[in-house]
Amino acid sequence: MGSNMIVEARGLSHWFGDGEARKQALFDIDLALPRGSLTVLMGPSGSGKTTVLTLLGCLRGVQNGTVGLLGHELHGASEAELTALRQRLGFIFQSHNLHESLTAMQNVIMGVQVRPGVPDELARSAATQALGLVGLSDRLDYLPANLSGGQKQRVAVARALVGNPALVLADEPTAALDKDSAATIIDMLKRLGAERGTTTLLVTHDNRILDRADRILTLEDGRIVSIAGGT
């Protein structure tokens, strides 16, 4: 696999259910994400966008085809290998999924602490810095309940980015946000990605985001039907 590719999938197919209910969600997908790129994944509801994300994110086992991620083959990888690989990824979900009992700071620290042996002070300074980058320096000790929707999602972005992940996977991170907050989040992702060389795969329906993408992949019925932008 090309050393410039963070992800390289070939002939990726996926099925849900068993027997009669067995239904194919992905058909023979080929896809590669170059280091440092921001790729947007589009497509109608049910086309398989989330399924692609969970497969690349090591959250589901690969059934058919090959997926190379950071130099590891995911097809046939053990649960322990997948867990270890996930520590090098950053996830941003449609809802922020912050822990209600932890402050903004503590939520972000969780993104560092997953790697064993990180000293406490280092985790704190990294979290402080990440929250600063998303403009929340003055909200470090706030519980999620005391933050606005946009602020919570920014904490989630900080949590995903604090560990300097090689790949960020985001599934409609702006769907629950108003226009301004959404634009802020995307600009942030783009800027941080450029600064740190982070590769981002972003699922969205949001047309406002398209012009910020390096590449746009469109899925339909489990197949990639178009690729716009550089290859």
Partner: protein, 390 residues
């Protein structure tokens, strides 16, 4: 607290933050654990005091071997033993002395509230068979109808008991005779009677005319200093031709009595059962709280799973919570348990109270059982599937 836990676990104390986030539920859980602790403490306290009370009368005597009837499970229970076996025991060169011991309950009717004395009829000429505190006083018993009373007996006021002296004796009617208490000793109320009393064997026989001097309830023996009690006991079993008699070292007799009270008497079993219930209540409470807590945080846990946290991390959170509940619930449980036992001891004149060994045992039990039910609660974690988060 948060910092201490951070230092212990080497990570954010998520369990602590999670528990204290829902203050009301946290306090309810702590009271539940404390309640279970109190339950166990009270039952254990009663069981302990039953043990102390059972062994207490054995401390009044100083003997090496005791011969009792086959059905004499306790000092005041069972048939009697023919005195001739004592004479036969003297045939063993290591047996140096013997005394017949008579035991019966003697009621003292105080107009409405009886005091029931577990009464020992002894030979006043054998002070060597009595513990030093009592031995010094039994010469008084050479006079007919004289008694030495338990000054800790239930129903006897402290002032009343303190007033009893040879110069100011206390007389009372029982079994149609008048007994005169000339002195007192420290016995203590038990489960079988309100207190103890010593009288001479002659006085005993006149109180109970149906009893015969030739058949005391137990025979106490002493052996030559340095002799092997176990060896003498087994020799006596061969020497004494009544195979139904229980010939035991004095220490064994006391321990067998204790086991009998705790394992075979319904009271002992009931208190043992109470301890079990307390443990179960604690287990269920901790399990309920922790599994509800896991269920409430499935989404957060799934997020952590997606971020790359493994199963050890989640087990760690739940164990952390279990330890917090166990330790913080134990402390008020200990305080309330101590208060209740002390109060009960005052009211019942039973040797009830908190002991260090009891506190340590219950603490260790609480922590172990909390962690155990915490580990059960983690089974729900399997439902946290990070693939469902997107």
């Amino acid at each position: 607290m948060s910092r201490l836990l951070q230092w212990i676990f080497g990570r954010l104390p998520i369990g602590w933050l999670q528990l204290t986030h829902k203050r009301g539920r946290f306090l309810a859980a702590l009271s539940g654990v404390a309640f279970a602790n109190v339950l166990v403490f009270v039952q254990l306290g009663i069981m302990n005091s039953m043990g102390t009370a059972t062994l207490r009368p054995y401390e009044f005597f100083s003997a090496d071997i005791m011969i009792s009837a086959s059905d004499a499970n306790a000092l005041a229970e069972g048939g009697n033993v023919a005195r001739q076996w004592m004479l036969q025991a003297f045939a063993d060169p290591d047996v140096t002395a013997g005394m017949g011991l008579f035991v019966s309950n003697v009621p003292w009717d105080r107009g409405g509230k009886d005091i029931s004395f577990t009464t020992f009829g002894i030979d006043p000429a054998e002070p060597g068979f009595l513990a030093p505190e009592i031995a010094g006083k039994i010469a008084l018993l050479q006079v007919q109808d004289v008694a030495i009373l338990d000054r800790l007996a239930r129903g006897l006021t402290r002032d009343e008991a303190a007033a009893i002296r040879p110069q100011t004796p206390l007389s009372f009617e029982t079994q149609n005779r008048t007994l005169t208490a000339l002195d007192t000793f420290a016995g203590g109320g038990g489960f079988g009677g309100d207190g103890f009393m010593f009288i001479s064997d002659q006085t005993f026989l006149s109180l109970f005319p149906s009893r015969s001097s030739g058949a005391p309830d137990h025979i106490l023996l002493r052996v030559r200093p340095g002799a092997d009690v176990a060896a003498v006991t087994s020799r006596l079993r061969g020497l004494i031709s009544d195979p139904t008699l229980r010939i035991r070292s004095y220490a064994d007799a006391a321990q067998e009595d204790l086991r009998y009270q705790q394992m075979q008497r319904p009271t002992g079993l009931i208190f043992g059962f109470g301890v079990l219930i307390g443990v179960l209540v604690g287990l269920v409470i901790v399990y309920q709280v922790l599994s509800a807590d896991v269920a409430d945080h499935l989404r957060e846990y799934a997020t952590f799973k997606a971020m790359g946290y493994g199963s050890r991390f989640f087990l760690g959170i739940v164990v952390e919570e279990a330890l917090i509940l166990g330790i913080l619930g134990f402390l008020p449980g200990l305080a309330v348990g101590t208060a209740i036992l002390t109060l009960m001891g005052k009211v019942t004149a039973l040797p009830l109270g908190m002991t260090a060994s009891m506190a340590i045992m219950v603490f260790v039990g609480t922590v172990v059982f909390s962690v155990l039910s915490g580990t059960f609660a983690t089974r729900r974690l399997a439902a946290a599937d990070p693939a469902d988060l997107f």
